[in-house]
């Protein structure tokens, strides 16, 4: 067995462990799907009655944004899961085994990706019920979902670094909340960036979250024809921008996370 197949095999053993946990402790999945449903309903009916998007309904505009926010929240599970493993001492066991050093991280990020797939399915159904429609081809829509998931997957490696650094799930949850909320709000997720005041507008336009949301919005066909072209470069080519962001995030955080993991000791 080569090192690569051993690494993948070990990663899948770990992913299986996390998937069994989802099955056995379904609370996490239930709440990580309930909260986006709540967000869809709140934003669609509360903000939707106040915010006007020229050429389309707010609900149609909103969905790509909610998808973006939700998969990012899904990515944070990676961090709290690892922090919990550290706290409970099981990382010591793993690190004393002759397994690939990346396996715990690969397993964790993979099972969190699976979690995000389930969440996206539930959210899509909720969206369709409140009036969201995909106005593009099946292939384009699939590409939109794939981009959202890829972006969340890349971010989960960054979350892994934070989770291994803070070493307590409670601290991680507070820390990630502070990071994730501005990241998903100072963006085109819930409002048009053109309506934001000067500096916020610049931040929003170059925010990686805006790129992935814009890409999804375009691929779902939820950008009304005739709407003005965004002025910022990443939003003009959102698909390429998203792929570039994912590559950068992975290139930085995969080695960083593995390095952290190699030195992580419980308690």
């Amino acid at each position: 067995m080569t090192a690569a197949t051993k690494a993948i095999g070990d990663g899948m053993v770990n992913a299986k462990r996390n998937l069994i946990k989802i099955k056995r402790v379904p609370d996490l999945l239930v709440f990580s799907t309930l909260s986006p449903i709540m967000f869809v309903l709140l934003f669609a009916y509360v903000l939707g009655s106040g915010i006007k998007i020229p050429g389309t309904s707010y609900r149609e505009f909103l969905m790509a944004g909610i998808f973006g926010q939700t998969v990012i929240f899904g990515a944070t599970i990676t961090g709290s899961g690892l922090a919990q493993d550290l706290q409970r001492g099981i990382v010591d066991r793993f690190r004393s085994l002759p397994m690939a050093q990346s396996a715990v991280l690969v397993g964790r990020t993979t099972s969190d990706l699976a979690n995000n797939v389930i969440v996206i399915v539930v959210m899509s159904i909720t969206g369709l019920i409140v009036g969201w429609r995909i106005r593009s081809s099946f292939g384009e829509a699939l590409a939109g979902f794939a981009l959202l998931l890829l972006f969340a997957y890349a971010l989960s490696w960054a979350m892994a670094v934070i989770g291994l650094a803070v070493r307590s799930p409670e601290v991680f949850n507070n820390a990630s909340f502070i990071a994730v909320f501005p990241l998903t709000f100072i963006a085109n997720t819930f409002v048009l960036t053109s309506t934001l005041p000067g500096p916020l507008k610049v931040v929003a336009e170059w925010n990686p979250v805006s790129a992935v949301v814009q890409a999804a919005r375009e691929l779902f066909g939820n950008v009304p024809p005739g709407s003005p072209k965004p002025s910022a470069l990443p939003l003009q080519h959102p698909v390429i921008a998203t792929l570039a962001w994912c590559a950068v995030i992975l290139a930085i955080f995969v080695p960083l996370a593995i390095r952290r993991y190699k030195k992580a000791v419980s308690r």
């Binding site: 067995m1 299986k16 397994m99 419980s266």
Partner: protein
């Protein structure tokens, strides 16, 4: 002689605290070494270096001939580790936990499952093997954790305080299990705070304090170093003390110590309960009334008092200096 575990001058610093301060250790193959010391002595740090979880700042260590730094991967194949806290996944069943470990050791799907069932049976967990670990008792979790360390039939086993936190029954059960294991020839490094535990399980003992070995030997050697067994008695009247002292000098193995304030006398002896009976007969024949008498054996506290001049219970909580614990970030560790 072939050493399964060898360490020379191991140093590990946490900030300004030296958790290990030049630790030397040599464990011959097929023997049981007890690393005995109080909390904070550096026992867990030593085990973590041997099992590749931590890197030493200085010194070298070899396990099964593999260098802990250079050959970490190969080393992990031949060792098993069971830590101070049962490192099992609460949301999986006992079987799933062991099967996962087997797969990660590189066992095939079938042999991993067979090994998991075999271990569950061996550790008296066959009936609860398909139940989620969350419902296990403390003793069951420890047994499962130990089973996890044995999945790949390791040549060298590390057990870090295997009975800390167990009730007396759980402790006895664990001792039986460990004795059975080492009967098969496994080399074992065991850390413990209990002299009794080291006494029962270990072939030789290294007493460790402030990150360095302060005494080595068999349990008997250590005990005799501490002063061995002694008779302690309290007389009704302090005026009897000198008489009793003179009387018992016939059975004493050393200088007796008396305390008139508490009316107690401590007499070092070597003959065990026989000597105690003899002493009682002598006192009875002389008609001297004693309110309390007994044979005392040295405890860990005695070992520590005698070897270090300070009590064993100096530090509480984790086996790490307080400044290096969670919350201080990784650099501090």
């Amino acid at each position: 002689m072939e050493f399964a575990i060898e360490a020379e001058g191991l140093v590990k610093r946490y900030g300004s605290v030296r958790a290990l301060d030049g630790l030397d250790l040599a464990v011959p193959e097929g023997t049981v070494m007890g690393l005995l010391g109080p909390n904070g002595a550096g026992k867990t740090t030593a085990v973590r270096i041997f099992t590749t979880l931590l890197e030493a700042d200085a010194g070298r260590a070899r396990v099964a001939g593999f260098d802990v730094k250079a050959d970490a991967r190969a080393l992990r194949r031949v060792i098993g580790l069971s830590g101070q806290y049962a490192a099992v996944d609460e949301d999986l069943t006992g079987f799933e936990n062991l099967d996962m470990v087997g797969r990660l050791y590189g066992l095939g799907r079938r042999s991993s499952r067979e090994r998991a069932r075999e271990l569950l049976a061996q550790f008296d967990l066959a009936e609860s093997g398909d139940r989620v670990v969350r419902g296990y008792s403390g003793g069951m979790r420890r047994r499962l954790d130990l089973a996890g360390a044995l999945v790949a039939r390791p040549r060298i086993l590390f057990l870090d305080e295997p009975t800390t936190g167990l009730d007396p029954r759980g402790r006895l059960g664990m001792w039986d299990v460990i004795e059975e294991l080492v009967a098969g020839g496994t080399t074992l490094l065991l850390t413990t705070q209990y002299l009794e535990e080291a006494d029962r399980l270990a072939d030789s003992i290294a007493v460790i304090d402030h990150g360095t070995v302060i005494a080595r030997g068999t349990a008997d050697e250590l005990k005799s170093q501490v002063g061995g067994e002694r008779i302690e008695l309290r007389v009704d009247s302090a005026s009897d003390l000198d008489r009793v002292r003179g009387l018992l000098s016939a059975v004493a193995a050393g200088e007796a110590m008396s305390d008139t304030r508490t009316r107690t006398l401590t007499v070092p002896v070597s003959g065990g309960s026989k000597t105690l009976i003899e002493a009682l007969r002598m006192l009875d024949a002389e008609g001297i009334a004693v309110s309390d008498i007994g044979l005392r054996r040295p405890t860990l506290d005695d070992v520590f008092l005698s070897l270090t001049g300070h009590a064993a219970e100096e530090k509480k909580d984790d086996d790490e200096p307080a400044g290096a614990r969670r919350g201080q970030g990784e650099n501090a560790r």
